[in-house]
């Protein structure tokens, strides 16, 4: 590994030149002894050799954990607005989720990296399994027309949730073990790899979950040092694909949704009674909350009699904004931002490229999911079936989110065995 890191480092120096190098004037021969840059405010400018403890207690991941806990509790309160009985169940799910997070946090995260081949195979097998048409409906029961759930007795399990986490770990492993993504070919190769889980999940079909992969990939590539021009060109290409997809790929009902969302953002109520029904209901309920919300009882009445579908699930943010108003919504977004800051700070402190990138991926996927979910609730994005992490009702979703949080804490608590040096520090 260290040999590979060396190679990376020298090429990084070559390619990025002195400008990118924090210790600009240092010669490459000192690389082996150098420590990663560590913010003095947090760590103090200590020589890493004096800090050989492999386990530390203070990590910014605790911030993320606090935010996650806050969001989960707020979610339970929001669910109790219309579904008190489900709120109790969600509390139980939260317990299970936390337990899972603890379990995930226990082994050193490098263990996951070592097992990554097995994890990838398992995830792909499960994704394919749900697609096999002759698997009986008692095992894979379609929900809303999508084959994305496996029945496991008391709780159902969504392979795409596993796939999301495994994808982050796999991509982190890949990007930290090669530097090929800094070339065009390597960049494209990452893109193609990402299309595997996307394709399998789109086939279920679960468009919402599939949408999460590309932004996550982009965030990880950006932090993994991909060329700016690659990133910018691919974003532009992606943007150019949108009208092409609209015209040739999307089904009429999907196009109608896009039309509806464009009308909706511009305040055109034309689709309020048909394609845009759910979006409009959610938007109006969000708007009804005003600054400080209408309170639990009135919010329950409004949400119930406005007939908002999935109000405890995908549309929970509408309930939050209706009940607690703009302040409630801002508090929730604030918590997500705290979660992201905690995760990114964890990545910043972490010296291990795999741990860093995994932390970034965990933050990115959660933030992306939050953006799509709340964006569709407030009428900025088309409706796709996607939950709000930590907040929405559902054991599978909550568990997956907390497992990711457990991984983040795991990364935060561990110190790399060696002071590996990555090209990224130059």
């Amino acid at each position: 590994m260290s040999g590979a890191a060396h190679l990376h480092a020298s090429s990084a120096v070559k390619s990025d030149g002195a400008v990118d190098s924090p210790q600009g004037g240092m010669s490459s021969t000192t690389l082996r002894r150098r420590v990663i840059w560590s913010p003095g405010a947090l760590y103090g400018a200590q020589d890493p050799r004096q800090r050989r403890k492999r386990f530390i207690l203070w990590t910014p991941a605790w911030l993320s954990l606090a935010a996650g806990l806050f969001l989960s509790l707020m979610g339970i309160a929001a669910i109790s607005t219309t579904r008190p009985e489900l709120a109790t169940r969600q509390l139980a799910f939260l317990g299970v989720g936390i337990a899972a997070a603890v379990a995930v946090a226990l082994p050193h995260y490098r263990w996951y990296r070592r097992s990554i081949i097995g994890l990838v195979i398992a995830a792909i097998v499960l994704l394919i399994f749900v697609l096999i048409p002759w698997v009986p409906e008692s095992i894979v029961r379609p929900r809303n027309g999508a084959r994305s759930w496996i029945a496991l007795g008391p709780a159902d399990f969504q392979p795409s949730e596993l796939a999301k986490t495994v994808y982050i770990l796999a991509l982190a492993a890949w990007l930290s073990s090669t530097q090929s993504h800094r070339t065009l070919r390597g960049f494209v190769a990452v893109l193609v790899m990402t299309l595997i889980p996307i394709g399998l999940i789109v086939l279920e079909p679960d468009l919402g979950s599939a949408l999460l992969f590309l932004p996550t990939m982009a965030a990880m590539l950006i932090t993994a040092g991909a060329r700016k021009r690659h990133v910018i060109i691919s974003v532009l290409l992606g943007a150019a694909m949108v009208p092409i997809a609209y015209g040739f790929v999307l089904k009429p009902y999907q196009r109608a949704r896009i039309d509806a969302i464009i009308a909706q953002v511009s305040g055109d109520t034309r689709y309020e009674k048909n394609e845009g029904f759910q979006g409009w209901r959610a938007m109006r309920l969000v708007g009804s909350g005003g600054l400080i919300g209408v309170g639990k009882e009135h919010a329950r009445a409004l949400v119930t009699f406005n007939g908002l579908p999935e109000e405890h699930n995908d549309m929970i943010f509408a309930v939050v904004c209706c009940r607690w108003g703009t302040l409630g919504g801002l508090a929730m977004w604030g918590a997500f931002l705290v979660f992201a800051i905690g995760g990114l700070a964890t990545a910043a402190i972490c010296r291990d490229p795999f741990g860093r990138l995994a932390a970034v991926g965990i933050v990115a996927i959660c933030f992306t999911q939050m953006t799509i979910n709340t964006g569709m609730t407030i009428g900025l994005l088309p409706i796709t079936g996607i939950t709000l992490p930590f907040v929405s009702y559902g054991g599978s979703s909550l568990m997956a989110t907390w497992v990711n949080l457990g991984l983040l804490v795991n990364i935060g608590l561990r110190r790399p065995k060696s002071t590996e040096k990555s090209y990224l520090d130059d």
Binding site: A12, D16, D20, P22, G24, I36, W37, P136, E137, S138, R141, A151, A219, I222, T223, G225, G247, K251, P252, Y253, M283, R284, L285, V286, G287, S288, G289, G290, L291, H298, A301, L302, F305, N306, G307, C321, G325, T326, G329, L330, W333, F336, L337, A340, I341, L344, A348, R356, V360, F367, T371, T374, I378, G379, L380, S422, Y423, L424, D425, D426
Partner: protein
């Protein structure tokens, strides 16, 4: 930044992106909740209120004595859920039952096959239950299973095309979308149901309380099967009347000591009119219930697009806005459960001038069953050899007609009868309805040439205008023009039939009584074409009278269209010019005996005679008792009163003197029998026999004419008062379509009406 590595700079970039995304989201939230908040709040709050509208009661139509003629009556409709009608009820019930037993969670976990299998096992039990319910419905409704199946079939046949039409619409819209985008059209959901497939349908309408209770028991035993819903119906309590008509005073061939029981159907139905439940675009435009744009309530008394009760004919139509009430509202707050209630306002009760009993008697007089409105031999008479004279229509031929009675002092229309009634003709096929003029309210919509009944009117007019001396005498030589013997003749002079007698020299009284044509050709020639037309106009021809049945609409070419009442016909200015330029000498003089380009309704005739009786003062006849211009003189023709007196004297002689055309009928044995001989009643009346358009005869009653017959309309128009004060009180007009001789056909009907006026206390009379 210079001290940060690539990774950390990229982390900061990522964080910046997150913050930007966060701010964008927050901006939209602020827009929704702060800027647009109140509007969204208003919208969502509307879902917390549930509004129910309470039906209002349509006002009653009453007769002049307060007798109810039309009212809303509560009844019940029995409806069956469409699931039962379509036969999917058992399957749905079985599924629901299994689902309930399994529990919602466990049910979720079952596969489709498992669910279907579990449900199928229960279906036979529910099938049996459905059979029991159907049997119970048959017992409660008093019909057999075949009848129930027939009714279900009817509903299914009504719903099926709608489902197909809906799917068709969907398919077309998908195809249009596909056409626009170039994709294959998206398949439509074939199992999607339309509202008609989810709603209950009426299998039995207008049931009484006791039957409704029987059905209610079934409904309560098994919910979601049948429902008993309240329904209001417009009923006419006097629609069917049974009368016992005295026959002792009828012409002797019809006379009997035993009264005849006549069952009348559709009494006053032309004038009362009808209601419809389908709502037209015009109604919605005129008075919408909900505002088209905002969807808010615009008018509690407005019309609902889907279904509403709308007056469509007769007084129900013209009095619509008075009869219609305002809906009530119950608004329930779903959150608090509180509700506010605003009671409906009933429509206004409107009293008509009609006396429904008199109306019934008058209708009875016009019923062919009594014998007066039928071709009888006495109307044609017998030759001097005692042979019955031939006529255009066979003896016994049933005749349609119209009659109207107007109170001279007030203008109140006491009776307004048209035969056949709407109800009597309801079973006729469309073409026959048109041949019978069944939909025409003949006394106000039927337009007929007036014939001789205009003679006293034109005389009064000519004297008033000063073109004719009040004591003018005219010699009847049988024909008017000096050397023309084929045209403009008197009715008495028919040399080709061997009748070459003439009236000789007559003053106006006798000229009216004998209905001498030559006298009135002379009057018309003195008035001139414009003068005659003007006097017709003065007596009301050319304008609808507007007794309360008139509906005026904008027609093509900016002309007004009249519905419900007719204006009658008069030659237009162009036509007068054309007659003049053609040098037509005959047309103007023909107008003097009510022939040629003039036509009016029986109501015009009664109104004109009432005006004559008032000495020229015009009071508009009306059907509405509380109208503002009741008894009010709206104009005065300024008639020469001596001329009026002479005209009235002529009318008296016409019935009272043996030479009068309205005096008697001659029977087979040569005996003369007075047409009207009601003791204590004085009658001033004129018969009229007016040339009619050829009658299409439909002997096989298939709706197409087999032959045309030339014969005349029979008029009898007069004034009736008490012998004691010799004051005309009621104007009566009778028209029998194709009845031939006015005096002999329409006269006895008028006499029967006068006896009815006595019977109902309008005229004193003296009991025989």
């Amino acid at each position: 930044m210079g001290t940060l590595g690539l990774f950390h700079r990229r982390l900061l970039l990522l964080l910046a992106i997150f913050v930007i995304v966060g701010f964008s989201l927050a901006a939209q939230l602020g827009r929704l909740a702060i800027v647009e908040g109140s509007e969204h709040s208003r919208q969502t709050e509307t879902f917390l209120r549930r509004r129910m509208f309470l039906p209002s009661i349509r006002g009653r139509l009453l007769d002049r004595n307060g007798v109810t003629l039309a009212e809303d009556r509560a009844s019940w409709d029995v409806q069956v859920e469409y699931a039962m009608i379509a036969g999917r009820w058992s399957a749905e019930k079985a599924r629901a039952q299994v689902r309930k037993e399994t529990g919602a969670n466990a049910w979720q976990k079952l596969t489709r096959e498992e669910r279907n299998a579990a449900a199928a096992a229960r279906v036979p039990l529910w099938d049996q239950k459905a059979e029991e319910i159907f049997d119970a419905i048959c017992v409660a409704g008093g019909f057999d299973r075949a009848e129930l199946e027939r009714r279900f079939d009817e509903i299914r046949r009504r719903v099926a095309p709608r489902v197909e039409a809906y799917r068709d619409r969907l398919r077309k819209s998908e195809a249009a979308k596909a056409m626009a985008s170039g994709d294959a059209p998206a398949p439509i959901a074939e199992d999607e149901t339309i509202s008609e497939q989810e709603e209950p349908h009426s299998i039995l309408a207008d049931v009484d309380d006791i039957t409704a209770f029987r059905f209610q028991a079934i409904a309560e035993e098994e919910p979601n099967t049948i429902s008993v819903v309240p329904a209001t119906r417009r009923v006419r309590p006097w629609d069917e009347v049974e009368l016992s008509v005295e026959r002792t005073a009828l012409p002797s061939p019809l006379r009997s000591d035993k009264p005849l029981t006549i069952r009348l159907e559709g009494v006053a139905d032309h004038l009362l009119g009808s209601t419809r439940t389908s709502v037209y675009a015009d109604d919605l435009k005129r008075r919408p219930f909900l505002d088209e744009v905002t969807g808010e309530i615009a008018d509690l008394g407005g019309y609902r697009a889907d279904r509403d009760l709308v007056g469509s004919r007769g007084m129900e139509r013209t009095l619509e806005d008075r009869l219609r009430g305002l809906r009530g509202i119950v608004e329930r707050n779903l959150e608090t459960g509180e509700s506010t209630r605003r009671e409906p306002t009933s429509g206004e009760d409107v009293r008509l001038t009609i006396d429904i009993k008199l109306q019934s008697w008058v209708q009875a007089a016009l019923e062919p069953a009594l014998g007066l409105a039928k071709i009888q031999q006495w109307q044609r008479g017998w030759t001097t050899e005692g042979e019955p004279k031939q006529g255009a229509l066979p003896v016994g031929w049933e005749l349609n007609g119209a009659a109207v009675v107007v109170d001279i002092a007030t203008g109140d229309v006491l009776a307004l009868v048209s035969t056949p009634t709407m109800r009597e003709s309801a079973t006729l096929v469309g073409k026959r309805r048109r041949m019978e003029g069944a939909d025409v309210n003949k006394p106000v919509e039927g337009v007929y040439p007036p014939g001789s009944i205009v003679k006293p009117l034109l005389f009064s007019g000519a004297v008033t205008q000063g073109v004719v001396p009040v004591d003018m005498a005219v010699e009847c030589k049988g024909h008017f023009f000096e050397n023309v013997t084929t045209s403009a003749r008197c009715w008495i002079w028919r040399p080709e039939e061997g009748r070459s007698g003439t009236h000789g020299t007559l003053a106006v009284e006798e000229a009216i009584a004998r209905s001498c044509n030559i006298y009135f050709y002379t009057v018309a020639s003195k008035l001139g074409l414009e003068g005659v037309v003007q006097w017709y106009r003065n007596f009301g021809v050319g304008e609808p009278i507007d007794i309360g049945l008139l509906v005026t609409r904008d027609g093509p070419n900016g002309r007004l269209m009249h519905e419900g009442e007719s204006a009658g016909d008069l030659p237009s200015a162009e036509m007068i010019k054309a007659i003049r330029s053609a040098g037509d000498r005959a047309a103007p003089v023909f107008l003097g005996i009510g022939q040629g380009p003039v036509a009016w309704t029986p109501l015009h005739a009664a109104s004109a005679y009432a005006t004559l009786a008032r000495g020229g003062k015009v009071i508009r006849p009306s059907l509405i008792l509380d109208r503002s211009d009741r008894s009010q003189v709206t104009s005065d023709l300024g008639l020469n009163q001596t001329a009026v007196q002479k005209a009235l004297e002529g009318l008296r002689q016409a019935v009272s003197e043996t030479y009068g055309t309205g005096n008697h009928v001659t029977l087979e044995d040569g005996r003369q029998e007075p047409i009207s001989s009601v003791p204590g009643v004085r009658l001033w009346a004129k018969s009229g026999t007016a040339q009619a358009p050829p009658l299409k005869v439909d002997n096989d009653k298939d709706g197409t004419s087999d032959a045309t017959v030339k014969t005349d309309h029979a008029w009898f128009v007069g004034l009736a008062g008490n012998e004691s004060d010799r004051q005309p009180r009621y104007a009566i007009a009778v028209l029998i379509e194709y009845g031939g001789s006015g005096g002999k056909t329409a006269g006895p009907v008028a006499a029967e009406i006068i006896r009815s006026l006595v019977r109902e206390g309008y005229l004193k009379g003296t009991s025989p």
